[in-house]
Symmetry: C2
Subunit: 648 residues, 2 copies
């Protein structure tokens, strides 16, 4: 039998060890006396036993949680690494590993579209102008003078003009000595050699060419609102911020919001609440980048139809009542002032087009940004939010439906739920009943701080682990008879303690209650049921789905395996799944960058066939079947069945 020498480089001096070829790297570490964390018990799930092989090669059983770059640099999971030759291994300090795993979760992820050229596709233009000052021989009025300059210097024909700008124009031109910078929203018009344009801002002097030109992509979710601040010239997302939608205080789901908005003064309250949230986020991103919100020149807004109606103060009651018709799918362009956004009042606000009462621009934007509408493969796209919207199709056909999941996966409506920000538990592992640390959890917290609560991915992870370890049963009930103080009866009934007050930020125990579990179960059941009904309506079997794209704001690092274990996602090979993050915000971002996107979204919207679940009896049946962990029909979840057997 071949023997291999393994040398560990750590902060302490450690002697090399010899192991048989085929041994696990984690076992070699134990032999060498090197401590490597294994919170998940060597199942290759948590990524915390990652080390770096700097000499020699190894065989990797799994590379979960590692990027291609990580692998190229030799990073590997000790518990999943088979030794085949002499190797040298660097064991990095714990914090360094953790940083790589939990760095900033969104901004770094957004790639500027390949080949993005503001000159070619950006509608917003910033043009430095030197105007000839007026004289007694040239008494041309200011507006004509500016029009002439833009025509000759930028081949732009201005049309229309707001009173707001007319009121600024004279003083700005004179105080700046007739050297100004114009910000113009442009569009092409058939049969015209010139671009058409609408003046949006006039700055004194010449703004440096390299200075950013600001825009925002806004995703108005029922539960979570997200704003991305974008430099329209480079295309870069420079920062982002998310917050719970202030409307939550008046109803958790779209139906209760519509009901509230129908009351006297309710519509205005709804508008004010969501504007409070969006404007707060705008203030936050602007403060971070030290810019003035008034310099934001363009906004693209995506959201479900109810959110869009309530954002713009349009009565939404027809969405709720049969035959479920929105007032408008193709929303008109409005100005910042008309929309009530705290940006340039003249800024163009592009509310993206939706499909039907419950499938809005969040989904057209998601379909666009995921690339689904161009794919050859049969693809299922799920946007997991308060509503779970599902699209099935490819470049030839698209069918869609929406089901009400509730806000649990966004961390709302759950006792210690929170958004996926610093202090949120985003992943949990629970030791099995037979181990020394029976029923004890280990968790990963965003930002490596003391935990504050649990975000959506953490809740999925937690529920899956509780199910696998038998803390909850198939029906979601907590087993109070287990020999651990973590299972107890609290104020709101049975609960499991995820973190003791001694470990948490605010010194209170972080728990998950039976009620929380019920919320999560109903959320996942609604999505899985929608999924079933949609696939059945077009006669597509789960097995024939080539890929499954998942968008949503529950975090990017959601664990597919765990999502399958609770029955949120179908039991398909892991490599068919792809998590895309906030696809709605991403679609809005694409629309912000490229003036051709809106037409594409309109086209996508018109291509989508909408299935009204509220008119479909099979939905309720599918929902009931899915209201178990993972499902009444375990045959549909063979991998989960196997995992349960292994654990219990």
């Amino acid at each position: 039998m071949k023997t291999c020498e393994v040398t560990f480089e750590t902060s302490d001096e450690v002697s090399p060890v010899s192991v048989a070829a085929g041994a696990l790297l984690s076992d070699a570490a134990i032999l060498a006396g090197v401590e490597i964390n294994e919170p998940c018990g060597g199942q290759g799930r948590c990524g915390r036993c990652t080390v770096q092989v700097v000499s020699g090669s190894v065989r990797r059983r799994s590379t979960v949680r590692l990027t291609q770059d990580d692998i190229a640099e030799g990073h590997t999971l000790s518990c999943q690494t088979v030794i085949t030759e002499d190797i040298r291994v660097v064991v990095q300090p714990w914090g360094k590993i953790e940083r790589r795993l939990t760095t900033d979760r969104v901004v770094g992820d957004v790639q500027v579209p390949a080949g993005y050229s503001a000159k070619e596709v950006q509608s917003m233009r910033r043009i430095p102008l030197n105007l000839a000052p007026p004289s007694m021989d040239d008494q041309t009025d200011d507006w004509s003078r500016l029009q002439t300059a833009l025509r000759s210097e930028a081949k732009i024909e201005l049309s229309g003009l707001s009173l707001g700008l007319l009121r600024q124009m004279g003083p700005t031109l004179r105080e700046s000595g007739w050297a100004v910078t114009a910000v113009v929203d442009t569009w092409e018009e058939a049969g015209s050699a010139l671009l058409k344009g609408r003046l949006q801002a006039l700055y004194p002097g010449h703004v440096p060419e390299e200075a950013p030109l600001w825009g925002i992509a806004v995703d108005i979710g029922t539960t979570t609102v997200t704003v991305w601040l974008v430099d329209l010239l480079s295309g870069k997302v420079v920062t982002q911020a998310s917050e719970y939608n202030g409307q939550i205080a008046r109803g958790e789901d779209v139906i209760s919001r519509i009901v509230y908005a129908t009351k006297e003064g309710g519509s205005k309250t709804m508008v004010d609440l969501v504007l409070g949230t969006i404007n707060g986020l705008i203030a936050a991103v602007c403060a971070e980048m030290k810019i003035s919100p008034g310099d934001i020149q363009k906004a693209s807004v995506a959201g479900n139809p109810t959110m869009m109606h309530l954002f713009l103060g349009i009565p939404a009651q027809s969405i709720r009542l049969s035959p479920y018709v929105p007032v408008v799918n193709q929303l008109p362009m409005v100005t910042g002032a008309a929309a009530g956004l705290m940006i340039n009042p003249e800024a163009v606000v592009d509310c993206l087009p939706g499909v039907a009462s419950y499938v809005g621009s969040d989904i057209t934007a998601g379909v666009l940004s995921s690339g689904l509408s161009e794919m050859v493969e049969n693809t299922l796209f799920i946007d997991v939010g308060t509503n779970g919207e599902i699209v099935l199709g490819n470049r030839d056909w698209l069918i869609t439906c929406a089901c009400s999941a509730g806000p649990a996966f966004e961390g709302a409506g759950v006792t210690h739920g929170m958004r996926a920000t610093k202090g949120a538990i985003e992943d949990v592992w629970i030791a099995g009943g037979h181990s020394a640390k029976a029923y004890e959890p280990t968790s990963r917290v965003i930002g490596n701080v003391r935990p504050i609560g649990i975000c959506g991915s953490g809740l999925i992870s937690l529920l899956a682990e509780m199910f696998l370890t038998g803390i909850v049963d198939k029906g979601g009930g907590i087993n109070l008879s287990l020999p651990t103080p973590r299972v107890r009866t609290g104020e709101h009934g049975p609960e499991y303690v995820v973190a003791w007050g001694s470990e948490t930020e605010d010194r209170r125990d972080i728990v998950i209650t039976a009620v929380d579990i019920d919320n999560l179960k109903r959320a996942k059941a609604a999505i899985f049921a929608g999924f079933n009904v949609l696939a059945a309506s077009v006669g597509v079997e789960f097995e024939s789905i080539d890929q499954l794209l998942i968008g949503g704001s529950f975090g990017k690092y959601i664990n597919v395996e765990k999502a399958v274990q609770i029955g949120l996602l179908p039991d398909l090979p892991t490599d068919k799944f792809q998590f895309l993050g906030n696809t709605s915000a991403k679609g809005a971002y694409y629309a912000l960058l490229d003036r051709n996107i809106r037409a594409q979204l309109t086209q996508i919207a018109s291509r989508m066939t909408y299935l009204e679940l509220s008119a479909d009896n099979s939905f309720y049946e599918a929902f009931m079947s899915a209201s178990f962990l993972p499902h009444t029909d375990l045959d549909r979840f063979p991998s989960v069945e196997a995992a349960v057997e292994k654990h219990q």
Copy 2:
């Protein structure tokens, strides 16, 4: 010598009289013992001796104050009628004559343009629609449903949409059972078979076809604001109202208004004041017609550039300072809400295009409505307002200038001045010093009521009579040594009493003071000087001017002879003069009716050469020469010289 028999028909029985052929009808009346009023002393100026010749014909020396219809019906001025054969004459009761002379002064005058067809030229359309209600099989959104209906039923392609309408749309459609009436502003677009349209209002049910569709023509004068209420379908002006511009409280002329607007908060005050006036007038015309202001769908607004800037809150200081450049001549279309008008917030407000800092849309509208720009003859057009704007030209060329006259001719800035409404003295005759009633005035009051004050035409008339009778001298000074109690020294210096308190509405004496006369003199001098400089600049002699068109709000029945006597108008044959009333409001009215007019106005504006008087030294010289009654150079006023000789 031929003898003619004259039979008078009066309320009393009167015997026929025989007079020699060639005798005046007024002499025949005295012979017959028939009392006919002759306030002007038989000069053929007042029209009060009008009678009706019902049998036989007469020779008329003058037909001043008679319309063509009057003449056709046999009406004639007794003092100007030569008897040539046997005639029968009806002497109507005094009141009846008076009514014909002083009835409603504007509405009756406005003729709907010949051949006006709303279908062909009106941009505003009102379309009854029956929409197919939505169902589970047709979940089309409301806005698309409405667009489809308008496309199929009216060949109109809607573009854009306001949030205001989106907010009303759903409930309106449902509450009306999907039968609605849409009001749409339309325009043609090159290359499109469909009309383009912007939805402005959606009424539940079907509005009756014969119901009016309301619009307003607005003339914002520096001193007087006028609103005409128009049925866009029939084209008829149904009523009108005028009021002093509320901004007068902050400055009498455009310069002082600009100065005020430049102060902190001044611009907003100016906007608020003029909006107060306009909205008050809108409320008045709507109350009169018992309609809701929110049903006014379109407004056309004309005014000088300062008025337009201050109406829209655009800084106007550059108009006042060399090189005298407005911010904008071609004003953008705005909505009722943006303009702050109390009409449908979505209504289109068309602020008509102007030429230069002191020649605005009031003048382009005046040139259009007077027909000047299409005339073969050399035509002089004067719009007498607070600024006197003058245009000289014909269909081949147009030159224009503006001079600051002050508000005197609109009755403002004069002790007992008032607008030409009920109670205003609009014409005055003063008996010469040699007559029995030496220096006693007779006046005509609008509405035949006790006088309240004197309007512009009354002031011109009064000043001319005072000059002819020697009450004022060439320099405008009042001769205090005349043997009449009407000439006296009042609180503000020398004055002439036009009406004693015993005759007036408010029991106070109505006077004209030396200061008032000075104001009038400066006003007329500015206009006459502008007239001179403009004609001189293109080398046109007064004599070669074929016609003189006069617009302004000082009243339609201004007496040319008297205007010439004070030197306001050049001494040309009476038949060259034509009074057109408020040409600015009339132009706005034309633009309100016909969507092609705006382009015509723009074209007129571009054709006009603007002469900046403030940059012209000859203006001051001409002004000084014109600051006498009628002028330093009496040779230029031969008819006035003759009249003075005759009177004194």
